[in-house]
Protein backbone atom coordinates (compact mmCIF):
# COMPACT_ATOMS: atom_id res chain seq x y z
CA UNK A 1 0.00 0.00 0.00
CA UNK A 2 2.95 2.31 0.57
CA UNK A 3 4.41 1.85 -2.89
CA UNK A 4 2.14 4.17 -4.95
CA UNK A 5 3.13 7.30 -3.04
CA UNK A 6 6.83 7.26 -3.99
CA UNK A 7 5.79 6.39 -7.52
CA UNK A 8 3.47 9.37 -7.62
CA UNK A 9 6.13 11.65 -6.20
CA UNK A 10 8.62 10.43 -8.78
CA UNK A 11 6.13 11.04 -11.56
CA UNK A 12 5.37 14.52 -10.30
CA UNK A 13 9.09 15.33 -10.04
CA UNK A 14 9.68 14.10 -13.58
CA UNK A 15 6.79 16.20 -14.82
CA UNK A 16 8.16 19.32 -13.14
CA UNK A 17 11.64 18.70 -14.57
CA UNK A 18 10.14 18.24 -18.02
CA UNK A 19 8.17 21.49 -17.71
CA UNK A 20 11.23 23.43 -16.54
CA UNK A 21 13.30 22.07 -19.41
CA UNK A 22 10.56 22.94 -21.85
CA UNK A 23 10.30 26.52 -20.60
CA UNK A 24 14.05 27.16 -20.37
CA UNK A 25 15.52 28.81 -23.49
CA UNK A 26 17.30 26.36 -25.66
CA UNK A 27 20.24 28.61 -26.52
CA UNK A 28 20.23 31.54 -24.11
CA UNK A 29 23.76 32.67 -23.51
CA UNK A 30 25.82 35.72 -22.61
CA UNK A 31 28.93 36.90 -24.47
CA UNK A 32 30.84 35.95 -26.52
CA UNK A 33 28.60 36.20 -29.57
CA UNK A 34 28.87 35.29 -33.22
CA UNK A 35 27.90 37.94 -35.76
CA UNK A 36 27.41 36.84 -39.35
CA UNK A 37 26.45 38.82 -42.43
CA UNK A 38 25.71 36.75 -45.52
CA UNK A 39 29.01 35.72 -47.04
CA UNK A 40 31.03 38.49 -45.41
CA UNK A 41 34.29 37.49 -43.81
CA UNK A 42 35.30 38.71 -40.38
CA UNK A 43 35.65 42.44 -40.06
CA UNK A 44 33.56 45.55 -40.24
CA UNK A 45 30.80 45.92 -42.83
CA UNK A 46 28.56 48.87 -43.67
CA UNK A 47 24.93 48.61 -42.66
CA UNK A 48 21.90 50.88 -42.77
CA UNK A 49 19.10 51.06 -40.23
CA UNK A 50 15.80 52.25 -41.68
CA UNK A 51 12.81 52.96 -39.46
CA UNK A 52 9.39 54.39 -39.95
CA UNK A 53 7.59 55.71 -38.12
CA UNK A 54 9.76 56.88 -35.27
CA UNK A 55 8.12 58.02 -32.03
CA UNK A 56 9.60 60.03 -29.22
CA UNK A 57 7.66 60.71 -26.03
CA UNK A 58 8.09 63.09 -23.14
CA UNK A 59 6.96 60.61 -20.52
CA UNK A 60 6.71 63.33 -17.88
CA UNK A 61 4.05 65.29 -19.76
CA UNK A 62 2.81 62.71 -22.27
CA UNK A 63 3.60 64.89 -25.29
CA UNK A 64 4.66 62.84 -28.30
CA UNK A 65 6.69 63.58 -31.40
CA UNK A 66 6.81 61.48 -34.54
CA UNK A 67 8.94 61.24 -37.63
CA UNK A 68 7.64 59.51 -40.73
CA UNK A 69 11.00 57.84 -41.23
CA UNK A 70 14.51 57.64 -39.87
CA UNK A 71 17.56 56.34 -41.70
CA UNK A 72 20.93 55.93 -39.99
CA UNK A 73 24.06 54.40 -41.58
CA UNK A 74 26.32 52.31 -39.42
CA UNK A 75 28.60 49.30 -39.12
CA UNK A 76 28.46 45.73 -37.92
CA UNK A 77 31.47 43.82 -36.65
CA UNK A 78 31.36 40.37 -38.24
CA UNK A 79 33.16 37.52 -36.51
CA UNK A 80 33.01 34.80 -33.90
CA UNK A 81 33.46 35.12 -30.16
CA UNK A 82 32.77 38.85 -30.17
CA UNK A 83 32.04 40.87 -27.04
CA UNK A 84 28.54 42.30 -26.83
CA UNK A 85 29.63 45.91 -26.56
CA UNK A 86 29.53 47.76 -29.86
CA UNK A 87 28.62 44.74 -31.93
CA UNK A 88 26.88 47.23 -34.21
CA UNK A 89 27.09 51.02 -34.34
CA UNK A 90 24.92 53.73 -35.88
CA UNK A 91 26.43 57.02 -37.03
CA UNK A 92 23.68 59.28 -35.68
CA UNK A 93 25.34 62.40 -37.06
CA UNK A 94 24.61 61.01 -40.55
CA UNK A 95 21.05 60.10 -39.59
CA UNK A 96 18.13 61.50 -41.55
CA UNK A 97 14.95 62.21 -39.59
CA UNK A 98 12.17 62.98 -42.08
CA UNK A 99 8.79 64.65 -41.74
CA UNK A 100 8.94 65.19 -37.99
CA UNK A 101 5.97 66.64 -36.14
CA UNK A 102 4.94 67.28 -32.57
CA UNK A 103 1.66 68.16 -30.90
CA UNK A 104 -0.90 69.82 -33.17
CA UNK A 105 1.41 69.24 -36.11
CA UNK A 106 4.18 71.59 -34.99
CA UNK A 107 7.21 70.86 -37.15
CA UNK A 108 10.57 69.72 -35.78
CA UNK A 109 14.07 69.16 -37.09
CA UNK A 110 16.21 66.46 -35.53
CA UNK A 111 19.98 66.21 -35.60
CA UNK A 112 21.71 63.16 -34.20
CA UNK A 113 25.05 63.38 -32.45
CA UNK A 114 27.88 60.89 -32.07
CA UNK A 115 27.95 57.19 -32.72
CA UNK A 116 25.13 55.21 -31.16
CA UNK A 117 26.26 51.77 -30.05
CA UNK A 118 24.20 48.57 -29.99
CA UNK A 119 25.48 46.66 -26.97
CA UNK A 120 24.08 43.21 -26.27
CA UNK A 121 24.32 41.03 -23.20
CA UNK A 122 22.26 38.01 -24.18
CA UNK A 123 21.07 36.04 -27.17
CA UNK A 124 18.08 33.77 -26.83
CA UNK A 125 16.55 31.82 -29.69
CA UNK A 126 17.85 34.24 -32.32
CA UNK A 127 16.92 37.39 -30.41
CA UNK A 128 19.77 39.58 -29.13
CA UNK A 129 18.86 41.70 -26.12
CA UNK A 130 20.70 44.79 -24.97
CA UNK A 131 20.61 48.52 -25.37
CA UNK A 132 21.43 51.30 -27.77
CA UNK A 133 23.85 53.48 -25.86
CA UNK A 134 25.64 56.79 -26.40
CA UNK A 135 22.41 58.33 -27.71
CA UNK A 136 22.32 62.10 -28.16
CA UNK A 137 20.28 64.38 -30.41
CA UNK A 138 19.37 68.02 -30.83
CA UNK A 139 15.81 69.04 -31.67
CA UNK A 140 14.58 72.39 -32.98
CA UNK A 141 11.00 73.46 -33.63
CA UNK A 142 11.07 74.61 -37.23
CA UNK A 143 7.44 75.79 -37.45
CA UNK A 144 5.67 77.04 -34.36
CA UNK A 145 7.12 78.49 -31.17
CA UNK A 146 10.80 79.23 -30.79
CA UNK A 147 12.20 76.24 -28.98
CA UNK A 148 15.05 73.78 -29.00
CA UNK A 149 16.24 71.04 -26.68
CA UNK A 150 18.75 68.24 -26.42
CA UNK A 151 18.19 64.56 -25.84
CA UNK A 152 20.60 62.66 -23.64
CA UNK A 153 20.81 60.85 -20.34
CA UNK A 154 17.86 60.90 -17.98
CA UNK A 155 19.76 62.19 -14.98
CA UNK A 156 22.14 65.03 -14.38
CA UNK A 157 22.34 68.75 -13.96
CA UNK A 158 22.56 70.88 -17.02
CA UNK A 159 22.72 74.62 -16.99
CA UNK A 160 24.71 75.57 -20.04
CA UNK A 161 23.57 75.29 -23.61
CA UNK A 162 25.20 73.14 -26.22
CA UNK A 163 25.04 69.46 -26.84
CA UNK A 164 28.55 68.90 -25.48
CA UNK A 165 27.18 69.30 -21.96
CA UNK A 166 24.65 66.51 -22.28
CA UNK A 167 25.82 63.03 -21.27
CA UNK A 168 24.56 60.39 -23.68
CA UNK A 169 21.59 58.25 -22.81
CA UNK A 170 20.51 54.69 -23.54
CA UNK A 171 17.40 52.75 -24.48
CA UNK A 172 16.74 49.02 -24.27
CA UNK A 173 16.73 47.33 -27.67
CA UNK A 174 16.53 43.92 -29.28
CA UNK A 175 17.67 42.49 -32.60
CA UNK A 176 15.75 39.60 -34.13
CA UNK A 177 17.66 37.52 -36.69
CA UNK A 178 14.63 36.20 -38.54
CA UNK A 179 13.21 39.66 -39.32
CA UNK A 180 16.44 41.70 -39.18
CA UNK A 181 14.48 44.05 -36.90
CA UNK A 182 16.32 46.25 -34.43
CA UNK A 183 13.52 47.27 -32.08
CA UNK A 184 13.28 50.01 -29.49
CA UNK A 185 10.07 48.96 -27.79
CA UNK A 186 7.32 51.42 -26.94
CA UNK A 187 7.46 50.12 -23.39
CA UNK A 188 10.77 51.93 -22.88
CA UNK A 189 9.96 53.74 -19.66
CA UNK A 190 11.73 56.99 -20.37
CA UNK A 191 15.41 56.34 -19.81
CA UNK A 192 16.43 59.39 -21.82
CA UNK A 193 16.24 63.01 -20.69
CA UNK A 194 15.40 66.39 -22.16
CA UNK A 195 17.99 69.09 -21.52
CA UNK A 196 19.24 72.48 -22.58
CA UNK A 197 15.69 73.57 -23.24
CA UNK A 198 15.75 77.04 -24.76
CA UNK A 199 12.59 78.89 -25.68
CA UNK A 200 14.48 81.99 -26.72
CA UNK A 201 13.19 83.91 -23.69
CA UNK A 202 15.32 82.43 -20.97
CA UNK A 203 12.85 79.75 -19.89
CA UNK A 204 13.96 76.14 -19.44
CA UNK A 205 10.77 74.93 -21.06
CA UNK A 206 8.78 75.35 -24.27
CA UNK A 207 5.45 77.24 -24.12
CA UNK A 208 4.90 75.89 -20.61
CA UNK A 209 6.65 73.28 -18.51
CA UNK A 210 3.39 71.35 -18.77
CA UNK A 211 4.47 70.53 -22.33
CA UNK A 212 8.28 70.28 -22.38
CA UNK A 213 10.44 71.05 -19.39
CA UNK A 214 14.07 70.74 -18.45
CA UNK A 215 14.82 67.29 -17.06
CA UNK A 216 11.67 65.58 -18.34
CA UNK A 217 12.01 61.86 -18.96
CA UNK A 218 11.82 60.70 -22.56
CA UNK A 219 11.50 57.47 -24.46
CA UNK A 220 12.05 56.52 -28.08
CA UNK A 221 10.25 53.74 -29.84
CA UNK A 222 10.70 52.46 -33.35
CA UNK A 223 11.58 49.39 -35.35
CA UNK A 224 14.66 49.61 -37.55
CA UNK A 225 15.17 47.23 -40.43
CA UNK A 226 18.89 46.53 -40.33
CA UNK A 227 20.47 45.53 -43.64
CA UNK A 228 23.98 45.31 -45.00
CA UNK A 229 24.73 47.86 -47.69
CA UNK A 230 26.27 45.11 -49.83
CA UNK A 231 23.36 42.82 -50.73
CA UNK A 232 25.68 39.83 -50.55
CA UNK A 233 26.24 40.56 -46.86
CA UNK A 234 22.66 39.78 -45.91
CA UNK A 235 21.13 38.36 -43.82
CA UNK A 236 22.62 39.73 -40.62
CA UNK A 237 22.49 37.38 -37.66
CA UNK A 238 23.76 37.51 -34.11
CA UNK A 239 24.05 34.26 -32.18
Amino acid sequence: MRTPLPRLAASAFAAVVTMVLAVAPADAHPAPFDATAGGASAGQIAVTAVAGPFMFKDTTTGVTFTCASLTIPGHLVVGNDRPGSGIATLDASEGLWSDCAGPAGLRFQWTGYGTWSFDIDDVTNGVATGAITNMRAHVVISQGPTCSFDVGADTGTFTSSGTSTVPPGAETATYTNSSQALDLPASNPGSLGLWNVDDGSGHAYCITAALWGQGDNLSMSTSFHLTADDPGDNPIAIN
Binding site: T60, T61, A104, L106, G144, D199, I207, T208, A210, L211
Partner: protein
Protein backbone atom coordinates in the same frame (compact mmCIF):
# COMPACT_ATOMS: atom_id res chain seq x y z
CA UNK B 1 5.70 101.82 -76.65
CA UNK B 2 7.88 102.43 -73.60
CA UNK B 3 4.89 103.82 -71.71
CA UNK B 4 2.80 100.76 -72.59
CA UNK B 5 5.56 98.45 -71.40
CA UNK B 6 5.90 100.40 -68.15
CA UNK B 7 2.14 100.26 -67.61
CA UNK B 8 2.17 96.53 -68.20
CA UNK B 9 5.07 96.13 -65.80
CA UNK B 10 3.28 98.15 -63.13
CA UNK B 11 0.10 96.14 -63.66
CA UNK B 12 2.07 92.90 -63.45
CA UNK B 13 3.83 94.05 -60.29
CA UNK B 14 0.50 95.06 -58.78
CA UNK B 15 -1.03 91.73 -59.57
CA UNK B 16 1.99 89.89 -58.12
CA UNK B 17 1.70 92.03 -54.98
CA UNK B 18 -2.02 91.33 -54.79
CA UNK B 19 -1.42 87.62 -55.24
CA UNK B 20 1.21 87.76 -52.53
CA UNK B 21 -1.16 89.58 -50.19
CA UNK B 22 -3.91 87.07 -50.85
CA UNK B 23 -1.50 84.22 -50.25
CA UNK B 24 -0.33 85.84 -47.04
CA UNK B 25 -3.85 86.40 -45.79
CA UNK B 26 -4.57 82.68 -46.24
CA UNK B 27 -2.03 82.00 -43.53
CA UNK B 28 -2.32 82.25 -39.78
CA UNK B 29 -4.16 85.12 -38.14
CA UNK B 30 -1.80 84.94 -35.19
CA UNK B 31 -0.59 88.30 -33.86
CA UNK B 32 3.16 88.89 -33.69
CA UNK B 33 4.81 86.92 -30.94
CA UNK B 34 2.29 84.10 -31.05
CA UNK B 35 1.62 80.97 -33.05
CA UNK B 36 -1.80 79.68 -34.00
CA UNK B 37 -3.43 76.38 -33.20
CA UNK B 38 -7.00 75.94 -34.40
CA UNK B 39 -9.55 73.63 -32.79
CA UNK B 40 -12.98 72.37 -33.72
CA UNK B 41 -15.27 73.68 -31.01
CA UNK B 42 -18.79 72.69 -30.04
CA UNK B 43 -20.79 72.56 -26.87
CA UNK B 44 -23.86 73.71 -25.04
CA UNK B 45 -24.92 76.41 -22.68
CA UNK B 46 -27.79 76.05 -20.25
CA UNK B 47 -29.65 79.08 -18.94
CA UNK B 48 -30.64 78.29 -15.39
CA UNK B 49 -33.59 80.65 -15.08
CA UNK B 50 -35.48 79.25 -18.06
CA UNK B 51 -33.85 75.84 -18.40
CA UNK B 52 -33.18 76.63 -22.04
CA UNK B 53 -30.27 74.84 -23.66
CA UNK B 54 -28.35 76.56 -26.45
CA UNK B 55 -26.03 74.75 -28.82
CA UNK B 56 -22.63 76.41 -29.13
CA UNK B 57 -21.07 75.79 -32.51
CA UNK B 58 -19.87 73.90 -34.37
CA UNK B 59 -17.24 76.57 -34.76
CA UNK B 60 -13.51 77.05 -35.03
CA UNK B 61 -11.58 78.28 -32.03
CA UNK B 62 -8.41 80.07 -33.06
CA UNK B 63 -5.88 79.97 -30.22
CA UNK B 64 -2.90 82.31 -30.44
CA UNK B 65 -0.34 80.86 -28.06
CA UNK B 66 2.38 83.16 -26.81
CA UNK B 67 5.86 82.54 -28.04
CA UNK B 68 7.21 84.08 -24.84
CA UNK B 69 7.12 80.76 -23.05
CA UNK B 70 4.73 81.88 -20.32
CA UNK B 71 1.88 79.65 -21.45
CA UNK B 72 -0.51 82.52 -22.09
CA UNK B 73 -2.84 82.58 -25.05
CA UNK B 74 -5.50 84.69 -26.64
CA UNK B 75 -7.93 83.80 -29.35
CA UNK B 76 -11.12 84.12 -31.27
CA UNK B 77 -14.26 82.03 -31.05
CA UNK B 78 -17.08 83.24 -33.26
CA UNK B 79 -20.21 81.22 -32.58
CA UNK B 80 -23.09 80.79 -35.03
CA UNK B 81 -26.61 81.78 -33.94
CA UNK B 82 -28.54 78.94 -32.31
CA UNK B 83 -32.20 78.26 -31.77
CA UNK B 84 -33.57 77.43 -28.37
CA UNK B 85 -36.97 76.68 -26.87
CA UNK B 86 -38.28 76.63 -23.35
CA UNK B 87 -41.57 76.92 -21.49
CA UNK B 88 -42.01 80.29 -19.85
CA UNK B 89 -43.30 79.85 -16.32
CA UNK B 90 -43.52 76.19 -17.18
CA UNK B 91 -46.49 76.75 -19.45
CA UNK B 92 -46.00 79.00 -22.45
CA UNK B 93 -43.66 77.71 -25.15
CA UNK B 94 -41.05 80.28 -26.15
CA UNK B 95 -38.54 79.99 -28.93
CA UNK B 96 -35.72 82.34 -29.85
CA UNK B 97 -32.49 82.58 -31.72
CA UNK B 98 -29.59 83.25 -29.39
CA UNK B 99 -26.38 84.76 -30.69
CA UNK B 100 -23.22 84.98 -28.62
CA UNK B 101 -21.63 88.14 -30.00
CA UNK B 102 -17.92 88.29 -29.05
CA UNK B 103 -16.80 91.35 -27.12
CA UNK B 104 -13.14 91.07 -28.00
CA UNK B 105 -10.80 88.12 -27.86
CA UNK B 106 -10.64 85.51 -25.14
CA UNK B 107 -7.63 85.33 -22.86
CA UNK B 108 -6.32 82.10 -21.44
CA UNK B 109 -3.53 80.46 -19.56
CA UNK B 110 -1.97 77.03 -19.72
CA UNK B 111 -0.88 75.38 -16.50
CA UNK B 112 2.76 75.91 -15.64
CA UNK B 113 3.36 72.30 -14.65
CA UNK B 114 2.04 68.97 -15.86
CA UNK B 115 -0.63 67.83 -16.25
CA UNK B 116 -1.59 70.36 -18.89
CA UNK B 117 -4.80 72.25 -18.17
CA UNK B 118 -6.25 75.48 -19.55
CA UNK B 119 -8.31 78.30 -18.13
CA UNK B 120 -9.86 81.05 -20.20
CA UNK B 121 -11.98 84.17 -19.89
CA UNK B 122 -14.21 85.54 -22.59
CA UNK B 123 -16.93 88.19 -22.86
CA UNK B 124 -19.97 87.87 -25.10
CA UNK B 125 -23.07 89.94 -25.54
CA UNK B 126 -26.17 87.78 -25.70
CA UNK B 127 -28.45 88.79 -28.52
CA UNK B 128 -32.01 87.51 -29.00
CA UNK B 129 -33.94 87.44 -32.27
CA UNK B 130 -36.78 85.52 -33.95
CA UNK B 131 -38.68 85.31 -30.68
CA UNK B 132 -42.02 83.52 -30.64
CA UNK B 133 -44.30 83.21 -27.64
CA UNK B 134 -46.94 80.53 -27.76
CA UNK B 135 -46.03 80.10 -31.42
CA UNK B 136 -46.77 83.72 -32.21
CA UNK B 137 -43.89 85.79 -33.64
CA UNK B 138 -43.07 88.55 -31.21
CA UNK B 139 -40.99 91.46 -32.50
CA UNK B 140 -37.93 92.30 -30.42
CA UNK B 141 -36.09 94.45 -32.94
CA UNK B 142 -32.57 94.03 -34.24
CA UNK B 143 -30.74 95.13 -31.11
CA UNK B 144 -32.24 93.02 -28.36
CA UNK B 145 -29.19 92.10 -26.31
CA UNK B 146 -27.64 92.27 -22.88
CA UNK B 147 -26.74 95.74 -21.69
CA UNK B 148 -23.35 94.48 -20.53
CA UNK B 149 -21.48 91.54 -21.99
CA UNK B 150 -21.71 88.33 -20.05
CA UNK B 151 -18.39 87.37 -18.54
CA UNK B 152 -17.54 83.69 -18.90
CA UNK B 153 -14.74 81.88 -17.10
CA UNK B 154 -14.10 78.38 -18.35
CA UNK B 155 -11.44 75.84 -17.52
CA UNK B 156 -10.41 72.23 -17.84
CA UNK B 157 -12.62 70.31 -15.37
CA UNK B 158 -10.99 68.88 -12.25
CA UNK B 159 -9.41 65.53 -12.94
CA UNK B 160 -9.14 66.11 -16.67
CA UNK B 161 -6.26 67.31 -18.82
CA UNK B 162 -5.92 69.31 -22.00
CA UNK B 163 -3.99 68.00 -24.98
CA UNK B 164 -2.54 70.43 -27.52
CA UNK B 165 -3.48 68.06 -30.34
CA UNK B 166 -6.58 66.31 -29.07
CA UNK B 167 -7.97 69.30 -27.19
CA UNK B 168 -10.27 68.65 -24.26
CA UNK B 169 -13.28 69.88 -22.38
CA UNK B 170 -13.76 73.38 -20.97
CA UNK B 171 -16.55 74.10 -18.52
CA UNK B 172 -17.64 77.25 -16.77
CA UNK B 173 -20.44 79.35 -15.39
CA UNK B 174 -21.65 82.85 -16.05
CA UNK B 175 -24.26 85.38 -15.08
CA UNK B 176 -26.64 86.99 -17.54
CA UNK B 177 -27.52 90.62 -16.87
CA UNK B 178 -30.38 92.77 -18.07
CA UNK B 179 -31.48 93.03 -21.70
CA UNK B 180 -32.33 96.25 -23.49
CA UNK B 181 -33.75 97.38 -26.83
CA UNK B 182 -36.18 94.47 -27.04
CA UNK B 183 -39.24 96.64 -27.54
CA UNK B 184 -42.36 95.71 -25.61
CA UNK B 185 -40.79 92.37 -24.75
CA UNK B 186 -37.97 93.92 -22.71
CA UNK B 187 -39.66 93.50 -19.30
CA UNK B 188 -40.75 89.96 -20.10
CA UNK B 189 -37.30 88.93 -21.29
CA UNK B 190 -35.71 90.48 -18.21
CA UNK B 191 -38.14 88.48 -16.12
CA UNK B 192 -37.30 85.20 -17.80
CA UNK B 193 -33.63 85.19 -18.86
CA UNK B 194 -31.22 87.08 -16.56
CA UNK B 195 -29.68 85.32 -13.61
CA UNK B 196 -26.66 83.48 -12.33
CA UNK B 197 -25.64 79.82 -12.45
CA UNK B 198 -25.75 79.50 -16.22
CA UNK B 199 -23.30 76.93 -17.58
CA UNK B 200 -21.14 76.40 -20.64
CA UNK B 201 -19.57 73.13 -21.67
CA UNK B 202 -17.18 73.25 -24.61
CA UNK B 203 -15.43 70.40 -26.32
CA UNK B 204 -12.30 71.32 -28.27
CA UNK B 205 -10.79 68.78 -30.65
CA UNK B 206 -8.59 68.31 -33.69
CA UNK B 207 -5.91 70.85 -32.75
CA UNK B 208 -3.81 71.84 -35.77
CA UNK B 209 -0.95 74.25 -36.12
CA UNK B 210 -1.63 76.95 -38.71
CA UNK B 211 1.54 78.09 -40.46
Amino acid sequence: MKRTFRALAVAAAASVATAGFLAASAHADAPAGTFEVDYDASGTSTLKSSGATVDLGPATLKAYISNSGDGSLTGDLALPPASTTFNALGLVPVSATVTFVPSGQFAGQMSSQPPLTISAHVDYSLKLSDVTVGGVPTPVGDSCQTVDPVSIDAATPDGQTFDVTDGGELVGTYTVGQFAHCGLMTPTINLLVPGSGNTVDFELSNGRFVA
